[in-house]
Amino acid sequence: MREINVSQITDVVERLCIEANTHLPSDVKCAIKDCRACEDWDIAKGVLDNIITNFEIADSENVPICQDTGMACVFLEIGQDVHLVGGNLAEAVDEGVRRGYTNGYLRKSVVGDPVRRGNTGDNTPAMLYTEIVPGEEIKVTVGPKGFGSENMSQIRMFKPSAGLQGIKDFILEVVETAGPNPCPPMVIGVGIGGTFDKSALLAKKALMRPIDSENPDPFYADLEKEMLEKVNELGIGPQGFGGKTTAIGLNIETLPTHIAGMPCAVNINCHVTRHKSEVI
């Protein structure tokens, strides 16, 4: 049994909120640069050049890459041999978000009630996801999620008879419907299986996985490649102005599901796909 004070989690969350919002992960930077090298449409090249200049400015000046510094999605993988002390875990995470978004000059984009609105003023609460795993460490991942792209995400409960073709058509339909709205080039997270809610969580987790990685199951690794190619044949292009680079990455995560169903969620992210992790 290892004791960890929740104040340590506050400190890590604060730091990760700021770092994730100012420094784009290297896998995303590389994917954007690779796509720029392969792009063959003039206006698209210009947009991608500006996107590269933008993340370079953010890096060197320590400023947010995008003004939508997102809702703070916080994933905690908590070792089952950890004993948390010193206070309430959820409050400790929120305190980290509060400090990160205040001290890091990040935008406060959260309303306290979905219908009656009203900004909470400190970007809390975090969207907190906890998972109990073996061991005595805690892995903290912060993935600030912007809503221009979140708003273009969709979920559908397929009949099993829809099969693989149903999934493929749905992914393309979601991207087509999203069009220029989610600031393409996009990153696409796909969750297949589980229940209604779990498929959406899988799609979100797919966005946290580096885009230069692949699904360990060769069947889904091939599907990731095939669907990324198909998405990039749509011609939407960077910002929707036309071009080859509609998406820079597509990750798929799956779970077993019920004999009667085949849930599929597609979570859309923009080229500012942010995630940063640290292990306590």
Partner: protein, 184 residues
């Protein structure tokens, strides 16, 4: 080829801009997004004056991050314009001619643009750090309680924009993609 233009966006200037044109814009613009538009349109419905002079004005759909010490403004890229579609025709009816944002617009907005010679410019979504460099002055003018959504008056220099929909209703989202796919 980028063309330099200077605001205000008069009807004469608006009519020279065509979908697909890359422009570098200099002049005064105003910021407003969801909550600010709602308040302005409610004010107009009550017959009140707006906190901005809408004549030939250009509105940037943006909610910037807070400025760090020494900065004019924080990161300031465009937000999704479609959420302002409910308000844009009203704003154009009182003289606001230019809109800067990203993403698709409804046919009602395009109809109003044709009627009032409006222009819809695209800024690069997600390029907030780059776009902030073009903003030389920022002044809070109304609705301070809205935080990032407050109304601000900005002075921009050589802001890189693309005409997405012009005053005749031509749309780069349609023509750009079609042209790309046609040559593939």
């Amino acid at each position: 080829m980028e063309r330099r233009i200077t605001l205000p966006l008069t009807e004469e200037l608006a009519k020279t801009l065509k979908a697909g044109d890359s422009v570098l814009v200099t002049g005064t613009i105003y910021t407003s997004r969801d909550a600010g538009h709602k308040r302005m349109c409610e004010a107009l419905a009550r017959g009140e004056e707006l906190p901005i002079d809408p004549k030939d004005a250009t509105i940037y759909y943006v909610g910037p991050t807070p400025a760090k010490p020494g900065q004019v403004i924080g990161s300031a890229g465009p937000t999704t314009s479609g959420r302002m579609d409910a308000y844009a025709p009203t704003m154009m009816s009182v003289g606001a001619r230019g809109m800067i944002g990203k993403g698709a617009r409804l046919p009602e907005v395009v109809d109003a643009m044709k009627k009032y010679s409006g222009v819809y410019f695209g800024a690069i979504g997600g390029a907030g750090a780059l776009l902030a460099k073009c903003i030389k002055k920022a002044e809070l003018i109304a609705y301070e309680d809205l935080g990032a959504e407050a109304l601000r008056k900005l002075y921009v220099e050589d802001m890189p924009l693309v005409v997405i929909i012009d005053s005749e209703g031509n749309n780069l989202y349609e023509s750009g993609r079609a042209a790309y796919l046609a040559q593939k």
